[in-house]
């Protein structure tokens, strides 16, 4: 039982949890010399997959190094960016979870429970 909205939200959950893992990793390495921060990108791929009709199958979650300038020890993690990004990702995750819950509630109501 799958429709476009459920698939899109499921794909968003996958991308957002990957982003959260990567950001936590960046924060853990905020003082590591020569460490380059990574960034997860999934929104563009998700948009294309939705337009193609298969949100989950067509989704590709990619990760690449950040191009931000490095500090004196070769580390380029910006703590403000990562912490704010964690807040932002957490809120988006809650929104996607709430969206799936609402959709499943609708289906249950229509089924008569």
């Amino acid at each position: 039982m799958q429709d476009l909205a459920l698939g899109a939200l499921h794909g968003a959950l996958r991308g957002l949890s990957a982003r959260q893992r990567v950001m936590a990793d960046n924060v853990a390495n905020v003082e590591t010399p020569k460490f380059l921060a990574s960034q997860v990108d999934f929104e563009d791929s998700l948009r294309e997959a939705i337009a193609g009709g298969d949100p989950l199958g067509g989704l590709q979650v990619t990760s690449r190094h950040s191009l931000a300038p490095t500090g004196p020890n070769g580390n380029n993690v910006s703590l403000d960016e990562e912490m704010l990004g964690l807040v932002d990702t957490g809120l988006r995750y809650q929104l996607a979870v709430e969206g799936m819950n609402a959709k499943y509630r609708l289906l249950r109501t229509a089924m008569g429970r």
Binding site: A5, G11, E43, L95, E98, T109
Partner: protein, 108 residues
Amino acid sequence: MAVEAITGAIASAVRSAGTALPSLPTTGAQAAAPSGEGFRDMVVGALDDLQGLHGTADSLAVQAATGDLADVHEYTIAATQAELATQLTVAVRDKAVEAFNDIMRMQF
């Protein structure tokens, strides 16, 4: 879709039942419009527009998934409206089926 035909018939039945009843007596305060009619319009509107409400909630959910949603309350309000409209439709359908069964059980 069969659901639409049934909800359309039920909506027109509710509308005609509403006009048959005497309007609510106004209390001391002079209201701009009788409160009974506003509520009836909202209920009938929900029955009529079930598909539309579902479609709006779905497209806003897709926008929320890709991060294009500017105002989160738009989505939660649309989802709540769709859910309540669905519950209303289901309740009306169940009552209609129950009434039909009652009538069929009547023996002469």
